[in-house]
């Protein structure tokens, strides 16, 4: 004969808590997804930027720009830590200006010439020394992209901080909701708790009769939240504004990336049910022990 549950599951149902926690977990998944996408995008941008530099040679009066460009190329190519030096032709320079000046011919305008420089990331060049060396070339300046990189990093840090803050707020809200639900369950079963105390039950025994339900609630709501989160990323990947859309591509990247990245992404997303379960279990247990301690 299997003994019946001392605290009946029907008294103070946890359905509302399950729904609320599932929504919390869903929001946590979106925040984690955003965190992963921002992190991946910044890594991709900054690795591209830090591998490359640009030498710009402006048209200077009394100087032959072609000669100066060639001089700048030679100075740069001779520098240690430089892998590749590639002079962009005039058409390439004009193409870069197209968004601002349109497709009309720029002949006659003093359009600067650009040299694309690829650096060795293992053995990077001394950019200060390179900049000084290039100062011998008339009109030449070195753009290391550091300004853009630091701007991107700052923006990414801000976005990451917002995502972490959202996760923190979700966790605090979840804890508050679980405390409220635990008190409701305790109040609804007060007559049982009183009787259990009177027949000699310890607080830990009574807490065990209740917190198992919170464990199941945390696990269930966590998996519902993650399921909805993954479904959302799938929908964004499929219908998020066409294949060229940043959101759609990023969502697809999150779901169908290389195994090493996918393990990390899915690992973080599936940490949500674990966190939800721990929040439910630990919060319920602490609340129960504290409340039972004042019920004699």
């Amino acid at each position: 004969m299997r003994p019946g549950a001392i605290i009946p599951a029907t008294a103070a149902s946890l359905t509302s808590l399950t729904v609320t926690m599932a929504v919390m977990c869903y929001l946590a998944c979106l925040a984690i997804g955003a965190l992963i996408l921002v992190d991946r995008a910044v890594t991709s941008w900054t690795s591209g930027l830090s591998r490359e530099m640009t030498v710009q040679v402006r048209v200077v009066r009394d100087a032959d720009i072609a000669q100066e460009v060639e001089k700048a190329r030679a100075v740069t190519a001779a520098f240690p830590g430089i892998i590749e030096v590639d002079i962009l032709d005039e058409k390439a320079g004009e193409k870069l200006l197209e968004p601002w000046l349109g497709t009309r011919s720029l002949a006659g305008l003093p359009v600067p010439r650009l040299i694309r420089v690829v650096t060795d990331t293992e053995n990077p060049p001394d950019v200060t020394a390179l900049g000084q060396a290039l100062s011998q070339v008339k009109g030449a300046t070195l753009d290391t992209h550091q300004k853009w990189e630091s701007e991107l990093t700052r923006m990414a840090r801000a976005l990451s901080a917002v995502s972490y803050a959202i996760l923190l707020l979700i966790s605090v809200s979840a804890i508050a909701i679980v405390i409220f639900a635990t008190r409701a369950v305790l109040q609804a079963n007060r007559h049982i708790v009183d009787l259990l105390h009177l027949v000699g039950a310890r607080d830990s025994y009574i807490a065990r009769q209740i917190d198992g339900r919170f464990l199941r609630t945390g696990l269930l709501s966590g998996f519902i939240g993650v399921g909805l989160g993954l479904f959302t990323f799938l929908l964004l990947g499929l219908f998020g504004g066409g294949s060229e859309s940043g959101v759609a591509a990023a969502s697809r990247g999150l779901l169908f990336s290389t195994p090493s990245i996918a393990i990390w992404s899915y690992g973080l997303l599936f940490a949500v049910p674990i966190a939800a379960t721990l929040i439910c279990l630990i919060t319920a247990r602490v609340t129960l022990i504290r409340r039972l301690g004042v019920i004699t």
């Binding site: 004969m1 299997r2 003994p3 019946g4 549950a5 001392i6 009946p8 029907t10 007559h191 049982i192 009183d194 009787l195 259990l196 105390h197 009177l198 027949v199 000699g200 039950a201 310890r202 607080d203 025994y205 301690g293 004699t296």
Partner: protein
């Protein structure tokens, strides 16, 4: 086993329900607690099963001063006390069997270790055929017997009963009295609050009479 010295009790800012109650009970004693309704019998029993604490005076149970007892020490003392509540306090969602077995279950005993004891006791109180029934379908007398069975199943050293024969017929009341006397003979200390003068007469045991919050030994 029990020692009360000038114990007083009041609820909140209300009047004193119990005033200067002093008595002691030694192991193996059997007392009846009588008195008119509202005299404070149930309140006195609540003090003794540690549901309340005295607002003044000293209460010692099993040598422990209840006034200074921490919350964590209460379960160990309560496990040595069996209580028959006036309103039964059976759990409606548990079977009669599970209700009776509750003190053993909370003490951490495995179901296989107490199954026979519980069924024997249910048989003795005439509820073996109702072991799977839920309390709402039991009669008043059956609930009373289930409540008594739950109070004695863990073989407590002290049994406190609040009107234990209030809902049973005279024949069953006599059987229950014999059960109490037998438990007392085996060493259980008894304190039974009752209005049943016939029960008191049959048992021929000392009576603590409570009237207007004050206690007298008769």
């Amino acid at each position: 086993m029990l020692r009360l010295e000038n114990v007083g009790l009041k609820y909140g800012d209300g009047p004193e329900i119990l005033r200067d109650v002093s008595f002691s009970v030694r192991p193996g004693d059997f007392y009846f607690l009588t008195g008119p309704s509202g005299a404070g019998k149930s309140s006195l029993l609540k003090l003794l099963f540690l549901a309340l604490r005295p607002t003044r005076g000293k209460l010692h149970i099993f040598g422990e001063d209840v006034g200074g007892l921490s919350h964590s020490k209460l379960p160990a003392i309560r496990r040595r006390i069996g209580v028959v509540f006036q309103e039964f306090r059976l759990l409606d969602h548990l079977s009669t069997y599970d209700n009776v077995a509750l003190p053993l279950r909370v003490a951490g005993r495995a179901e296989s270790s107490y199954r026979l004891d519980v069924m024997d006791l249910l048989d003795w109180v005439g509820l073996a055929h109702k072991s799977s029934d839920l309390p709402p379908v039991l009669s008043g007398g059956e609930k009373q017997r289930a409540a008594i069975a739950r109070a004695v199943i863990a073989k407590p050293q002290l049994l406190l009963a609040d009107e234990p024969t209030g809902n049973v017929d005279p024949l069953l009341a006599k059987r229950l009295l014999h059960l109490f006397l037998e438990l007392n003979r085996l060493g259980t200390t008894m304190l039974i609050a009752t209005h049943d003068k016939g029960l008191v007469r049959q048992a021929e045991r000392p009576v603590l009479h409570l009237e207007q919050g004050a206690l007298n030994l008769q």
